[in-house]
């Protein structure tokens, strides 16, 4: 139940559901203290992959072992996924109608803006954390590698991880 609510209410993906999860597991059910929660959050942030499911999996595991973990993750993921699949198959059925084609066209600028805003928030986080020179340097180098030299993103990310461990600590 605790994860079902954030799963439904957590608009905007992982980060949006963090306060909701905190409310449920710290205030309401008292499974974790505020300190434990923030420590878990810091760790979850340092690891790759979606935040919300990582936390659900961990808290579920602490409270109810493997089964608890499965239940928490399922509650986080399933409701929105089922909704998504239902709506997408509806869209897919009318794929060739002009209205659906127009829908695709209409939302594209908005999606571009959303992605741009996300990009901006990543840069500003980096600016606050690593400083201007590092941010610009890493951004320019990774842009050249990715776009001009066609290096796969996986390699660039691993490279950045190594660089960070060596030079930004």
């Amino acid at each position: 139940m605790a994860f079902f609510i954030p799963g439904i209410l957590g608009y905007g993906g992982g980060p949006a559901s963090i306060p909701l999860v905190e409310k449920e597991v710290v205030d309401r059910y008292e499974w974790l203290t505020v300190n434990e929660f923030s420590e878990m959050l810091a760790m979850a942030n340092a690891l790759p992959g979606p935040i919300a499911t990582k936390m659900a999996g961990y808290i579920g595991y602490m409270e109810g072992g493997i089964l608890g973990s499965i239940v928490a993750v399922f509650a986080t993921v399933a409701p929105s996924l089922i909704l998504m699949i239902a709506l997408m198959s509806l869209l897919y059925k009318y794929k060739d109608s002009p209205k659906v084609k127009r829908m695709t066209a209409y939302i594209r600028p908005t999606i571009a803006v959303l992605l741009g805003v996300m990009a901006y928030s990543f840069f500003s986080t980096s600016y606050e954390g690593a400083g201007l020179y590092q941010t610009v340097g890493i951004a320019v180098v990774s842009f050249v590698l990715l776009e001009k030299l066609r290096v796969p993103p996986a390699l660039v990310i691993v490279g950045a991880l190594v660089y960070g461990a060596l030079f930004l600590s």
Binding site: G7, G12, G13, P15, S17, M43, A44, N45, A46, L47, P48, G49, P50, I51, A52, K54, Y58, Y61, S69, T76, V77, P79, S80, L81, M84, S97, P98, R102, M103, T104, A105, Y106, R108, P109, T110, I111, A112, V113, L114, G116, M118, F122, G129, Q134, S142, F143, E147, P152, P153, A154, V156, I157, A160, L161, Y163, G164, L166, F167, L168, S169
Partner: protein, 185 residues
């Protein structure tokens, strides 16, 4: 073979996506559109729009839907599990063995260095979407819609899901104009 590719694609996305859901989007695009060609550019854009409009974690919604498209119910389970299981195990192991590794300077350095890279990936994808939009809608409409979205989402703080839902509604309700309806005749 498809299932194996699906599993590997989502494992890669999950283990490289630093910064939660949004960081996974450009990586996912690379895998499913560029590399395996499971989806066209348009389809990816639609899925992203819808995933953004609905509540809940974005990466798992996209993984589940794409997995189902590519490999049925098994594909769905496969993609979702590949997206979440490795990182959950990692988190449980690290937290129970090491207590708090996140205070280690080299871990913080690693995370810090990846953030601008993800920023660049997102920016490149942004540019691709703008180019596509210009192709279908023309420069003026694209610029207007982009600017309006930016205003509404960033300055007025309206949730993007609402903006997308409204645009979808507008596209559905507009009468088909025989002279210049998108996709008519």
């Amino acid at each position: 073979m498809t299932q194996w590719n699906l599993f590997m694609a989502f494992i890669r996305v999950s283990l490289l996506g630093y910064g939660g859901g949004p960081a996974a989007i450009p990586l996912l695009y690379k895998e499913v559109v560029d590399r395996y060609k499971w989806l066209t550019d348009d389809e990816f854009s639609d899925i992203l729009a819808l995933a953004n409009t609905l509540p809940g974690p974005i990466a798992t919604k996209m993984a589940g839907y794409i997995g189902r498209r590519v490999g049925g119910t098994v594909g769905l389970m496969n993609a979702v599990l590949a997206t979440i299981v490795p990182t959950i195990i990692l988190l449980i192991v690290l937290l129970s063995v090491l207590g708090s590794l996140s205070d280690e300077p080299w871990v913080q350095g690693m995370t810090a260095a990846v953030v601008p890279v993800v920023g660049v990936l997102l920016l490149v994808l942004t540019w691709q979407f703008i180019k596509k939009a210009k192709g279908t809608l023309g420069l003026l409409v694209t610029a207007l819609l982009s600017f309006a979205s930016l205003l509404i989402i960033e300055w007025l703080g309206i949730h993007p899901g609402i903006v997308i839902a409204l645009l979808l509604g507008a596209a559905l309700l507009r009468r088909d104009d025989p002279k210049k309806g998108a996709g008519t005749q």
